[in-house]
């Protein structure tokens, strides 16, 4: 019995959400008195693979196949299910990011394993195997008990702090034959739509809405993001009228994020917007209207004109950054 974590990578590196999933997997393994194994792409460099030891993997098993370079939910779930069997793993963990949402349910159904889709805490094993997850678009939580011996957990990105140790993982190749019919999707094109910091991974997010008046005024928003090392986001209307790219749109119909800090500038705080951001740890709202609903969901607020406040705040952030090193 061991815990297997699907360790996804892009451009030769593990994603932050992957590191979180491995770190979480290590703690689930400790709870169950077993080891945490990570499953990774065999095309990665040896030291990148071994680096998963730092977040708690005792072993990294790899699979290599030319066709795995492109994401295919069916083929990936085949590989992961096989790997789970070969490593005798009863708990399989994914980051519940875009690809996790595609693959984890398939793996769970194939193994007839109960899935908690969007876990935000470690399992409580005092009475069953109970895991907390967010429901009702951030307005509630539910505790799910997994009743099956095999279990699949999809961990919500940014919900679990990384714990690092000084260790390297051993690396082992797994021999898995992938039948040709498992590959079902032909990728024609991939398009990058966000900046350097992935919005769903970002710990700090600077977001703005219709209060900014026009796309030409986003310079100060981008500047704030740059000073802080934050990702940028926006409200839906702003994406709909093409002031900002769609990849930045957060809310009920856009991305759901839960950064440590969400700064909302010139956004009213409609319930559909809040649905995507209300799980952020700290929310700062800057708005001219003291009645803006967003202030009810905020931790810190400035009632003021973005065109005056933001440049001043940028100056203050810059000073803080200069002194903090």
């Amino acid at each position: 019995m061991s815990v297997l974590v699907f360790a996804e990578s892009t451009n030769g590196k593990f994603k932050k959400s992957t590191l979180e999933a491995v770190s979480y997997g290590k703690q689930v393994a400790t709870l169950l008195g077993t080891d945490c194994i990570a499953l990774a792409d065999g095309a990665l460099e040896a030291n990148e693979l071994a680096s998963l030891g730092k977040v708690g993997a005792s072993k990294v098993v790899t699979v290599k196949h030319d066709n795995l370079a492109h994401f295919d939910a069916k083929a990936y779930s085949y590989v992961i299910t096989e790997a789970a069997n070969k490593t005798n793993s009863d708990v399989i963990i994914f980051s519940y990011n875009v690809s996790g949402k595609a693959v984890a349910p398939i793996v769970a159904a194939k193994l007839q394993a109960g899935l908690v889709a969007g876990a935000i805490a470690l399992p409580d094993t005092s009475n069953g195997f109970v895991i907390k997850k967010g429901t009702h678009s951030g307005k509630a939580f539910a505790y799910y008990n997994i009743k099956t011996a095999k279990k699949v957990i999809g961990l919500t990105p940014n919900s679990f702090p990384l714990q690092t140790i000084d260790a390297t993982a051993s690396v082992e190749t797994l021999d898995i034959n992938i039948p040709a019919e498992q590959f079902s999707v032909t990728v024609k094109e991939t398009v990058k739509t966000t900046g350097d910091i992935l919005l769903t991974d970002a710990e700090l997010v600077v977001s703005a809405g219709r209060g900014m008046k026009g796309p030409e005024n986003w310079g100060m928003i981008e500047e704030m993001a740059k000073i802080l090392g934050a990702a940028t986001a926006c409200s839906r209307p702003v994406a709909d009228i093409h002031w900002r790219p769609h990849g930045e749109h957060v809310g009920q119909t856009g991305l759901t994020i839960r950064p440590n800090l969400y700064i909302a500038i010139g956004i009213s705080g409609a319930i559909q917007h809040l649905a995507g951001v209300n799980q952020s740890k700290t929310i700062v709202v800057i708005n001219t209207d003291k009645e803006a609903p967003f202030f009810k969901a905020a931790d810190y607020g400035i009632i003021g004109d973005a065109f005056e406040v933001v440049p001043k705040l940028n100056e203050a952030f810059r000073k803080y950054k200069a002194n903090s090193h």
Binding site: P105, T135, F141, V185, T190, T194, A298, G301, I303
Partner: protein, 246 residues
């Protein structure tokens, strides 16, 4: 072309969420139920557009009790041709997916469409499970879908971007924003909805793999601390020292 659209019901987005029975059950009192928005605006409407372009039928399916009939009639009013309700309480995703897969397996659908997620349980899991149980390809979080012959071209969300890919039919696809625009039922649709065939089937034997043991509401925000626009340094200090986020 035969399309199956999975329809779930969800509390209207503006619903105030609360729980009863010692926080073990959702409080249905005063809740307005709607078709889960992703299922209605994107999966169902895109299915209808594909049917209008290519011919065929659009069947809707729900796993749920009699309380599902109103939303199924609304889906008929929007334009679905016929429907199936599997008469069971949909508490576990695997159970739901198993019901849908068991029914769909023998019907020869070219496409099975579902929504990105239900807006109450936010799980995004039923579609993938249906695909696994039917052994079909699965594309999740699709933003565009076109069909030519026995092949679908799909644009879908990937981390930090999008991907355009093709897949041989039959396939299961989960749908989100971008697919289509919402449609409002017209009088003709509403009249026609009354007589469209809705089959009610008993549930197939299936395991239930998970259960919700308890709900919880988030801790109330303690209130917003206001900082003067003339003292933005104070905000920076609070973010560093109090919130510890920078």
């Amino acid at each position: 072309m035969k399309i199956l659209v999975c329809i779930s019901k969800a509390p209207d987005t503006t619903t105030k969420i609360s729980f009863v029975n010692n926080n073990t059950e959702f409080n249905n009192d005063k809740v307005t139920w709607i078709i889960n928005p992703y299922d209605e605006w994107y999966a169902l409407v895109r299915a209808l557009e594909l049917k209008e372009a290519n011919g065929g039928t659009v069947t809707i399916i729900s796993v749920g009790g009699t309380d599902y009939e109103a939303i199924l009639r609304k889906a008929f009013a929007i334009g679905a041709d016929d429907g199936v309700r599997i008469d069971a309480n949909p508490t576990d995703a695997y159970f739901v997916a198993n019901q849908i897969a068991t029914y769909a397996k023998t019907q020869g659908y070219d496409l099975v469409l579902c929504g990105k997620e239900t807006i109450d349980y936010n799980s995004s899991q039923v579609g993938g499970m249906i695909a696994a149980l039917m052994d079909l390809p699965y594309i999740s979080l699709a933003t565009k879908l076109d069909v030519a012959g026995n092949e679908a071209t799909v644009e879908c969300e990937i981390e930090g971007g999008k991907e355009i890919c093709s897949v041989k039919l039959p396939a299961v696809i989960s749908c989100q924003k971008g697919m289509a625009e919402a449609r409002i039922p017209n009088m003709k649709g509403i009249m026609a909805a009354r007589t469209k065939p809705l089959q009610v089937l008993p549930a197939a034997a299936s395991e239930v793999l998970t259960e919700i043991v308890k709900y919880e509401l988030p801790a109330e925000k303690t209130g917003c601390k206001f900082i003067s626009p003339d003292n933005v340094e104070e905000l920076v200090r609070l973010l560093h020292e109090e919130a510890k986020v920078i």
